[in-house]
Amino acid sequence: MTRFLVRRVIAMFISVIGATVIIFVMTRLGPDPIDLYLGDTQVEVTEEYIELIRRELGLDKSLPVQYGMWLWNIAHFDMGESIGTRMPVSKIIKTHIWTTLKLALGAWIFAVIVGVSMGVLSAVKRATFWDYVGRGMALFGQATPQFWTGVMAILLFAVILGWFPAGTLGDQEGFPLSWKNLRYWIMPCIVLGWPASAGIMRLTRSSMLETLDSEYIKLARAKGVGTQAIIWKHALRNAVIPPLTSALVLLADYLNGALVVEIIFSLPGIGTVALNQAVYDNDWPLLAGTVFVFIGIYVGFALMADIAYAIIDPRIRYS
């Protein structure tokens, strides 16, 4: 187990470093950050001044050295300063990450609850109306792009029916789970969570069917255990392992995938910030910072899923 853990953690660090190197190199292939720094100033800027800024930002050094410096600063919890706004990157990320986290968490809760319960329902009531409803929802969720379901949800529920507001988060004052605040989150969370709930539903369904077919369930039935007890106590506990472990990685995927949903619902999350401020303006410290956070979250959750899997299911090989 220790060996396995150490190997996993080392692999995690290699992933993070490799991924950041790729992003770092890519951002520096673009236009000179000096242009962004100076902006569209009409004032004549002397060569000396440009050299000065260049030295100040560390741009006079070679690319590997710059990367090394960046990594050194990250290790000291300093992600540098955004070139465009001159604000510390960590501060920008801190102000926006909560929106993304809430969105991801809401979507995740939706996906897990709907996915697992629909999966159980359609496995238990196999080949009936409920099974077809569940599978239909899953098919639809896996085959529609989120940018389209989002737009359609806005059209239907915000424009035509007017049930939920869209395009704003409201005041968000008072108790966070009150209906007044919550209704702004319902549509984005469902749109983001739906495709994943389809995946979880299918996983739960097939693993539940397999479990219901096993010997110990037959034994329980033969003993005279009631149907409800068989489903919830005997079968579900075993059947829910694969969907729940995959759901861990899913939460990480959400933080990356939230980008599209944030844009459609105009949520001020980290994805929108990364896109509008960092990508379009080539603000590389901000970009490197946000991508680092994304990668860190993803890799961290993947590691947690691996460990959870190893703990829950000792049959897997530690390799």
Binding site: L29, A143, F147, S206, G257, L259, V291
Partner: protein, 313 residues
């Protein structure tokens, strides 16, 4: 297959009156084989190939006078004018007066070309890396696994957007990005499959008989992996098409005058309250395509490699 009455009764095959009997057979056929999805895909491919002949209008011609003409069966009343749809623009026109149906036809082309090329390159690169790393083991295996891990950790959309900003929007860049996305699942699955196959006695025998490395890989390992790779291929086309649409939606796809489904949704969503058709129809197209592909993929998986069920479900 001819069955006796007793066999029919034992198998529980019900007899229907003549007309209904054919329908029942047809129903069972569509349940057993992915008939409807395959028909949808065939139509799609036909449209994509013959788009220049089938499209009623040019994808760029239009004009403000033809702006937001409704579909043939619908009426648009925006408070100023009332517009009736006609058969000239069966699915209506978009905000620039361009025919939606023609643009959908050409969009099918882009989707299929991009998904096809990405899939082929992903298949070739991924399978090659998967079987070589699985068979060779050692440092090469370690390197391949690490690279796959790094790619899995990269936030794809962000990276694609950065790349587009850096290198400019182009079809070539889109293809490279899609190929980067496509090869990962192939490596993972073929590698684990190869790890199983390489311990089979026939592989050892081949080595004893003096087969060269490439020969063992191509003649003895590859056939065992191929069916799995084909299943992965069909199951991942759908997600590739979704990814291409998402990139087009975010403005990182094929450059603008070329119509793509994702870009059509992006352009149309600004006018959603007046005209729904430029947004709804591309989405329906994406949905139908991806669903047909997923259906076919599921069926192929159950046929060729039921063990994958747990993995890909």
């Amino acid at each position: 297959m001819q069955q006796t009455q007793l066999e029919r009764d034992l198998l529980g095959v019900r007899q229907y009156p003549p007309g209904i009997q054919q329908l029942a057979v047809a129903w069972r056929f569509t349940r057993r084989y992915p008939t409807i999805p395959l028909v949808v895909l065939a139509i799609l491919i036909f449209i994509a190939v013959f788009a220049p002949f089938l499209a009623p209008h040019s994808t760029r011609s239009g004009g403000i006078r033809d702006r937001h003409l409704p579909p043939a069966w619908a009426v648009l009343d925006d408070g100023y004018t009332v517009k009736y749809g006609d058969m000239d623009h069966v699915l209506g026109t978009d905000h620039a007066g361009r025919d939606v149906m023609s643009r959908l036809f050409f969009g099918a082309r882009i989707s299929l070309i991009v998904a096809g090329i990405a899939l082929t390159s992903g298949f070739l690169i991924g399978t090659t890396m998967g079987i070589t790393s699985g068979y060779a083991g050692g440092w090469w295996d370690e390197v391949v696994t690490r690279i796959v891990d790094i790619f899995a950790a990269l936030p794809f959309l962000m990276m694609a957007l950065v790349a587009t900003m850096m290198f400019g929007q182009s079809l070539r860049l889109l293809l490279v990005l899609m190929a980067m996305l496509a090869w990962v699942p192939f490596v993972r699955v073929t590698r684990s499959q190869t790890l199983v196959i390489k311990n089979e006695p026939y592989v050892d025998l081949a080595r004893v008989a003096g087969c060269s490395y490439p020969r063992i890989l191509i003649r003895h390992i590859l056939p065992g992996v191929l069916s799995t790779a084909v299943v992965i291929a069909t199951l991942s086309v759908g997600s590739l098409i979704l990814a291409e649409a998402a990139l087009s939606f975010l403005g990182a796809g094929v450059p603008s005058p070329t119509p793509t489904w994702g870009a059509m949704v992006q352009e149309g969503r600004n006018y959603l309250s007046t005209a729904w058709w430029p947004t709804v129809f591309p989405g329906v197209c994406i949905f139908l395509t991806v669903m047909s592909l997923n259906f076919t993929g599921d069926w192929l998986r159950d046929r060729l490699d039921p063990r994958l069920r747990q993995l890909m479900d």
